[in-house]
Point group: C2
Chain length 245, copies 2
DNA sequence: TATTCCGATAGTGAC
DNA sequence: GTCACTATCGGAATGAG
């Protein structure tokens, strides 16, 4: 199977459960949620629309081809992907809590110019810490403010925009988006320019470690507060009436 | 010692014999012949003018600064370098015969834009086979027909050219010569374009092996002819008068 | 913007 | 056009049977 069309081959399966569990996380009637084979963050899933009536494989090649179909149908499709993405987000959040003791943000969106020939919606945790995050284009393709990563909610807002804006937006012109991948590296959190990928990766790790530390402290303070409140409640229950706040 | 000025430091020695034998091959009153520290061929020497009255270190920075001095003095300097280069050439030819049993061509010339700050004349065998021959710019800087390598005899001919030609030539404009180093690779022997350095290096090795084979065969034929002639002479001496040719 | 392999290209730092 | 080091950039192939 060529790497260019592997997602399509998944999306064409009439029985998604035949996919190995290392590939498939879950599926619905209209979509699959798979593990990105080269995760660019600790958590990274792809939501694929299934090739199923009324959709053909060609119509599902990418965002542009989807938009070229009936507008209402396109919106319906994206909303169903959104449902699946929200579900994947919850799965990720549970895992975050279980494995790391805290939760951090998750981004949901498309690449303006994908390489693989089947629409895929990224659901990715915002750490961007992964051994597979190797190249400038990898990073820039997920930078949340650069423009190449199209947040799903932004894409959905196109449906409510002026028709002329909609028509321009859905063209996803290469000339507009391709150069973004070559932009200088900058930390999406602190905005600082960073000279190269090794330095950026260290920086992202520090930023995430920092967030982890702060979040865990916050969780711990909350736990303490609740414990205190509980002890006071218990004391109050045992020795007197509740104190006024 | 910075690599930019190391040649100058050699050229300034009042006693060149204090240089290690791994650096110095020989010297005259006006010049040094040193081993190129990064030989781009099997044989590769540099001839340096010594910093010695009437020459100052600044005047000897490069070809341009030399030409800016008195024209007659400049010519005299180049002719003295030529003498040393011819001497180095003979040394190389002896070594070729001793080590390889045949001789091949030697080029004598300057780089139009040198990186090191002291005039140095290259004396280099035309094999261009060396582990130090690594980059396109290395090769192109010695390509005998590309223009970046200025054969000493060509430079000397500038003195006899129209004054306007002379004045233009001695400027050695970067804009003219720099782009030559990025020209596509082509074999200086057979003219074929060659895609990359690894391929070129293999090709140069084959070309040189080929020349070696042919030259050795030629040498052997000559030896045989002389042996035959000698045997016939000897026979003639022993058994009769020389035969007419 | 799938990865991987190979090589060319570009910037730096050397002292 | 000094080198050596690091990283980036640029093309081509990639599968399957």
């Amino acid at each position: 199977m060529s790497s260019l069309t592997i997602l399509r081959s998944y999306a064409q399966k009439s029985n998604p459960d035949s996919l190995p569990s290392s590939v498939l996380l879950s599926h619905s009637d209209t979509s699959l949620t798979i593990f990105d084979a080269y995760p660019k963050s600790i958590f990274h899933f792809l939501i694929l629309p299934r090739v199923k009536a009324p959709w053909t494989a060609n119509e599902l090649t990418g965002l542009s081809s989807v938009f070229k179909c009936d507008k209402a149908r396109a919106k319906e499709l994206l909303l169903s992907l959104k449902d699946e993405a929200d579900s994947a987000r919850k799965t990720i959040q549970d895992e975050m809590q279980k494995r790391y003791g805290f939760k951090w943000d998750i981004w949901i969106g498309f690449h303006a110019i994908p390489s693989m020939e089947h629409l895929h919606l990224h659901v990715i945790s915002n750490d961007l810490c992964s051994p597979r995050m190797k190249l400038k284009k990898h990073y820039n393709s997920f930078h949340p403010k650069l423009g190449f990563f199209l947040h799903l909610n932004d894409v959905l807002s196109w449906f409510d925009a002026e028709p002329s804006y909609f028509e321009t937006a859905i063209q996803l012109k290469k000339a507009k988006y391709e150069p973004l991948l070559k932009e200088p590296l900058s930390c999406w959190r602190c905005g600082r320019d960073i000279a190269n990928m090794p330095t950026l990766k260290s920086h992202l790790q520090v930023e995430w470690d920092d967030e982890a530390r702060k979040e865990k402290a916050r969780v711990e303070r909350k736990r303490k507060r609740e414990e205190d409140a509980n002890r006071i409640d218990t004391q109050n229950t045992l020795i007197g009436p509740p104190t006024k706040k």
